[in-house]
């Protein structure tokens, strides 16, 4: 089983790695973390701080795609994955400058084995960066997903059992985050405050004949504190404000508390 090497969080998805009780929305509805499947691949160093990994993996199942969560429910998660089509994925990272870590990744594969007569294909492109200087850390990530064949797929799903099927042909999202360690070095216990802005749209571009659902064009502010009694344990508190472009449907704000650890 392999973790898809896309984005900052997917390969290290345990709570101490990200701020906020929940993962960033972008790592939920644009990049469907935790994203893993059967696969095989290679990895290595190119030199001068550049490294890569590339895998072939079991594909997504387009019959799980949705208007609000994109490709998330198309994950097969290994055990009994259909591998009629093989997907390819890869990532390059540059870590040659102190404190800076940048990466770019992709995933590409046919996804239509549940509807063999529909040519459906998904391409994911993603770039990210993390920068750490003293007690300050900044992160940014942008992800874009292109979905081919969704017009036909929507029509097929509507005829089957999903009258509301309205999958987009492009979805995209980004976030920027800054955090500051207020209990600084050297200390076994740490605390960080953070603020994150996210903007994500799972109806960014629609196939011909389908209307955008504005409530799925969303953005969010998340502010909070992470307290680490140990680097592998995080006690988290955050407040998140989510908005969308629809004039009718409201998103609830939420106060979240959580305890997570890497076991």
């Amino acid at each position: 089983m392999l973790l898809v090497p896309v984005g900052i969080i997917n390969e290290r998805h345990e709570p101490p790695v990200f701020h906020g009780v929940e993962r960033p929305f972008v790592d939920d509805v644009i990049l469907p973390t935790t994203w893993f499947d059967a696969g095989a691949g290679i990895h290595g160093e190119i030199g001068r701080g550049l490294r890569y990994r590339t895998y072939v993996m079991a594909p997504l199942d387009a019959s799980g795609f949705t208007a609000d969560q994109g490709i998330r429910d198309g994950r097969q998660k290994g055990a009994e994955s259909t591998v009629r089509n093989i997907a390819t994925t890869g990532r390059v990272e540059y870590v040659g400058l102190p404190g800076l870590s940048t990466g770019a990744s992709f995933w590409r594969g046919k996804t239509g084995f549940a509807f063999p007569r529909i040519e459906s294909r998904v391409t994911v492109g993603e770039v990210d960066a993390r920068y750490r200087v003293r007690e300050l850390e900044a992160r940014a990530q942008y992800a874009h997903v292109w979905l081919d064949g969704m017009g036909e797929l929507n029509r097929a799903l509507r005829l089957a059992n999903q009258p509301g099927a309205n999958i987009a042909r492009e979805i995209r999202g980004f976030y920027v985050e800054a955090s500051y360690f207020v209990l600084p070095n050297p200390a076994p216990r740490e605390a960080a405050v953070f603020v994150r802005y996210e903007n994500f749209d799972t109806q960014y571009r629609m196939p011909a004949g389908f209307q955008r659902l504005q409530e799925f064009d969303r953005d969010a502010w998340v502010v909070g504190v992470s307290y680490y009694p140990d680097p592998d344990v995080a006690l988290k508190l955050d407040y998140s404000v989510v908005r969308n472009q629809s004039g009718v449907i409201d998103e609830p704000n939420s106060l979240n508390i959580g305890l997570g650890w890497w076991f």
């Binding site: 973790l3 390969e11 345990e14 160093e45 001068r48 490294r51 076994p188 680097p231 890497w262």
Partner: protein, 130 residues
């Protein structure tokens, strides 16, 4: 508990005592200090290039949990958790070649990817890579 846990591993010597036969190579060893960061699931830098005759002093700090630094056929030390100190490994680059190192403390799903190498070149010192 958290006092700077310095695991110093001394003299990783390759038992090839031919330095005296090489003109100019027997002079005082060049010492090079490398700051390395261990983080799930990479070492940064993960490739060091040093000239033969160099003593490399590798200081490894973790950005997250415990890792291990194991030089294949050589020393194996624990890298303490973030902000709890560093591990120091001394490597005598006496023989040109490629020396692999790897994480020796199971640290999660990508642990097996956590590897690197020290390339000892026959050329002059000073072109380390990060």
């Amino acid at each position: 508990m958290h006092t700077d846990a310095r695991c110093v591993v001394m003299s990783f010597l390759f038992a090839v005592a031919c330095a005296a036969a090489l003109p100019g190579a027997a002079a005082a060893q060049e010492r090079q200090v490398v700051e390395m960061v261990a983080e799930r699931f990479t070492f940064t830098p993960s490739r060091l290039e040093v000239a033969v005759g160099t003593t490399v002093e590798i200081h490894i700090r973790s950005q997250d949990t415990n890792h291990g630094f194991h030089l294949v056929n050589g020393p194996n030390v624990i890298v303490p958790k973030r902000r709890q100190g560093e591990a120091v490994v001394l490597f005598e680059a006496d023989v040109p070649g490629v020396y692999q190192f790897e994480c020796s403390k199971l640290c999660g799903a990508g642990h097996n990817f956590m590897k690197g190498e020290i390339v000892v070149t026959a050329g002059p010192a000073g072109d380390d890579e990060s």
